[in-house]
Symmetry: C2
């Protein structure tokens, strides 16, 4: 069973959650309402040696940064504001203390840079030779409008947009150095308001992640191959499936006036959400006019 | 370097945290203030195969329960009310889907039973033969009084109390079946108010955990061996050092009238916080009148 199916099976009990759960499991973050009426978002992500970073290739400080930045990208995907984070690490027996401190310092500095202080953690030792695993949980709250953006608000006819360029995230150092799109996400929500219907961050690959929007919104999605903004040096297949781009893919009311750039980040319209028909939910229209299933174009973390 | 020292080194940068961080790292949970003024607590804990449960001995559902209950014990230690939790798991390649679902179901049911719905998660696969690791992050808010109880509020002369009985937590199935003392903790805070100065849950062993209260409060601590409430079938050494009791140890103003039982849980006075003198911060007075250093009586998770 693949990661997404397993999580779906686990989260199938969502109907038993109480009314204080405003956004149930299955989105980039969950959201609960406190007794005071304030709403708070929480999301968790893991970074696993050999899967999210190659052993021995990068400094532990950069890996700590990535662990926190990945969780901050989930905050961006909700158009929320980060509050604080916690982290855990499993470190193999014999892991150097200086490396552990550098890992933690990378986490701390990244949180600090995005107004998301590290306020708790736990360290456990694994067996000798075990893989390093870091978990980061991030808390966030809605921005000024009080609204956050989920995966499930897309409507048939919505334009499908993406920030920045795609492809090669994992094949370059982009996956270590990317800027979580928090500022962009708050500004695009300010600008578009209720016309911004749905959003996700692209961590698994454009095909898979856009398919999550379509699945959660009950629509199809069609993008044009020629319109996908591709990172210099990479082709369309990379842009569709490499993963680790940490850009935002979003669905906007067809009537809305979407800028071509915001907060210094280019915005590209790639296609639209469609009525659901046939077996292919999320497709790419190739330059010869043919349609390819895009829903599996991506990177399965747990294969 | 041991776990506690490593975390201390990491958290030594707490002075750089902003004023929104009401309780910095180093307590059972951290706490931040939201823009609305509401305060929220967050804590994280890990459960590692071979360290917190023996491989192949218990059902995965019970292990999932324990992972969530451990984090709920941290909520009790702050006298807070749980809101929601998230979890992650690293599962070795070849881990059965049914086992994964049972693990998740154990987590979900335990959260539900304590008003703490599971609202997000992540699953990653480790290499074949890797140890199972579950991480649970829990959110909480202050109870009705708006106050929570930290490790650091103890004062010289305070009485030192404990809920329930101690010893053998790890050697029996108590470590799987314990009841997080959330209800008790809210009631004891209601009852004692500001006279309840400091609290911790006993996960590492009475000696080590009481020493955290003393260290954070800038006091010493002295308990009498004969007064430690010992679980039937276990001796003092077990009560001091076994760990995994998940009872609450707390320091109360010497003038306060502390009941001998609350919410069905016995309460025992074991000693008091003392002025710090000499090298031994936390000591046990033995029946012959001699003093033993208790600060290392406990269970080092990462050794």
């Amino acid at each position: 069973m693949r990661e997404f199916e397993l999580l779906s099976a686990i989260f199938a009990k969502n109907d038993r959650l109480g009314s204080e759960v405003v956004i149930p499991p299955g989105d980039d973050m969950g959201m609960v309402r406190l007794r005071s009426g304030a709403e708070i978002l929480v999301g968790v992500d893991q970074v696993v040696e050999g899967r999210h970073f190659e052993s021995g290739r990068y400094s532990w400080g950069r890996i700590g940064r990535k662990a926190v930045a990945r969780s901050l990208s989930d905050v961006a995907a909700m158009s929320a504001k980060p509050i604080a984070c916690t982290s855990t690490a499993i470190l193999p027996a014999g892991f150097e203390d200086d490396d552990a401190k550098e890992l933690a310092e990378g986490m701390r500095l990244c949180g600090e840079a995005f107004g998301c202080p590290l306020i708790g953690g736990d360290v456990a030792s694994g067996e000798k030779g075990a893989l390093v695993v870091c978990t980061v949980t991030v808390l966030a709250e809605p921005g000024g409008s009080g609204r956050v953006v989920t995966r499930s608000g897309g409507k048939v006819g919505d334009g499908v947009y993406v920030s920045g360029v795609l492809g090669g995230g994992w094949r370059t150092e982009h996956h270590l150095e990317f800027e979580p799109r928090i500022d962009f996400a708050l500004k695009i929500l300010d600008r578009l308001g209720d016309r911004l219907h749905a959003m996700i961050d692209i961590s698994d690959g454009l095909g898979r992640d856009l398919d999550h929007i379509a699945a959660c919104s009950g629509t199809g999605a069609e993008i044009e191959a020629a319109r996908v903004p591709v990172r210099s040096g990479f082709g369309l297949a990379h842009a569709m499936g490499d993963g680790e781009d940490y850009e935002l893919c979003f669905a906007v009311d067809e009537e809305a006036d979407v800028p071509s750039e915001l907060a210094g980040v280019p915005i590209t319209r790639m296609g639209q959400l469609t009525a659901l028909k046939g077996e292919k939910r999320t497709v790419v229209r190739n330059q010869d006019g043919g349609l390819s299933d895009a829903s599996q174009m991506g990177w399965e973390h747990c294969g």
